[in-house]
Amino acid sequence: MNIEDLEKERNEGIENLPLQERRKFLQMGLAVTGVFLGGSVLSLTSVSYAGNQSSPDTDIPAEDQYPYPKHYGMVMRQNRCIDCEKCVEACKQTNHVPDAHGAYRTAIQERLTTENGVEKREFRPVLCNHCNRPPCVRVCPTKATYKDPETGIVVMDYKKCIGCKTCMAACPYNARYFNEEKYAIDKCNFCIDTRLAEGKTETACAAACPARVRIFGDLKDKSTEIYRLLHTPDTKIWVLRPDTGALPNVFYMNA
């Protein structure tokens, strides 16, 4: 509808508006305010509006600004996680993660919270966030860790790793560990070598999850489930430690 045409219409007032309409309007208002508060105040970023040019620190680039031919990311539907750790096990098997203390590419964190006086256990799956502005990549002296130019996945070139551990200190997500077998730093690479290279479309952890917590895919491809989830209106989406400015590609929601 054209704004000029609207102006010609007679104001019908708000008295006769159905309750449903009022609620919708209120929701929209909250959603818009949420967008503008997102990131800085609420530590949330509404991905539906993430492509907004006026906000340079949004979490996913504007539609025409994806820097990689494919732009892989993951959505965690956090409230679905039951801590069965099948993802952790599948990752260990697929990516030959050593059976050593502190050696893991993905993990599930847990905490006890209280909601309306009832104790609740909360689980949060974590892994490398494959950031758009990855602190680990910037600090590596030998480019042993870098963004794969095809997929945007943060990968390791083990033979170049000098083991200075600066990437471990720089990572806001504790996503890196010293792999004593490779004698280099290791991390999640979205199974780029173990599954994606073989034509599989999911990471080992996502494929193993019985509750479909982890949705992996190309953020750019409108036909993917991850795209649909990230662009569903009224969905509260958040990222971990947005204050570090790393622009992660792992998004959290309750759905």
Binding site: A103, Q109, P141, C161
Partner: protein, 397 residues
Amino acid sequence: MTNKSISAIFAETAEPRLATPGMNRATIFFLIVTVVGLSCGVLAFIFGHHVIYHNTREMPWGMLISTYAFWAITSTGLCIYAAMSHVFGGTRMGIVSNRMVWMSIICIMAAFSTIGVEIASPHRMLIYNILSPNPTSNIWWMGTLYGLAVGCMIVEFAGIVTGLAKIALILGVLGAIAEVFANSCLGGVFATLPARPYWYGAQLPIYFLTAAFLSGAAAAVLFNFLAYKIRGEKMSQTVHLAVKSAGKAMTLVLILYAVATFWRLVSFYVGGPELGRTAADALISGPLSINFWVIEICIGLLLPIMLIILSRLENVGMMAMAGFLILVGQFVARYDLVVAGQIVPQNLGWDGLPSYFSYVPSIFEFGVIAGGIGVVALGFLMGERVFGKTFTQKEHH
């Protein structure tokens, strides 16, 4: 260029008076400390760095990194004071600047030997620092610039010893510039990590440079005092003035450093991320509080100030003691800085984690530290023995 043979050069620079049984015993003792200490680090290459050192996934950096920073910072300080005396001339420290150049080289060697056994694969570093450099990496710049600096200083020192004053002057300035930038990049390694609020911020590189001026002056006072102590003779008037001058610099920078430390800590309590505040709490009232209050503040700050006041900048022994205590304080300050930056779990609130991780360095880490001290002590004694006359000559150019 003179055609003097190497033995003739050494004959001119050596200090035969120091070839005493006592000196020999001390030299052998520190040689053993160096070999045994650094062997602890070599064990890491045999049994695994993850086995020998107490670093973890959550706290990847420990005492070896802080000690590396300590020696590198001290080296920068010594190098800057020496270069300033060379360039501007006329400063009272000029007469002892050759010794400062030597000790700057020795301190950076201690730093290199410490980090050399800390890094998991230094051989890959030698190859890929050249083949695959990352210009956005502070570590790359720091390593490259410290490498450049030590190269310059070694040529500078060779110039000093062989009487090539012009080369010594140019290389001395280049070396000092490289050292300042390297020091700044070392600060930048920590300062540019937003994931670690206790380190992140523009102040840290300046803080590191301030620490360099402090440690450098303290080391200058201490090593000059020791040089005359082992000779068993009194300082000449000019050397005394030089040490006094270093003492003044030490006092002034100690005050600046204390002010910087104060505001640095205050800044965590006026807002900002909780991680930074909890880390600062570790120093003020947490697991690092004894280190902070007893060693950093009492031993590294208050006691030296008292000693300096009592010495009236005349009593070199007292000033040297103050310098020594400042260095002890600085050593622990580097440790506290490195540890506090990682001691608070990044995912605090999850997994029932405590507010602080526990990190106690392994016996092998202490061994490597001893090895680094051994390098410096051995370097000092050997320097005095082999180049002693160069250090005590009235003017070198």
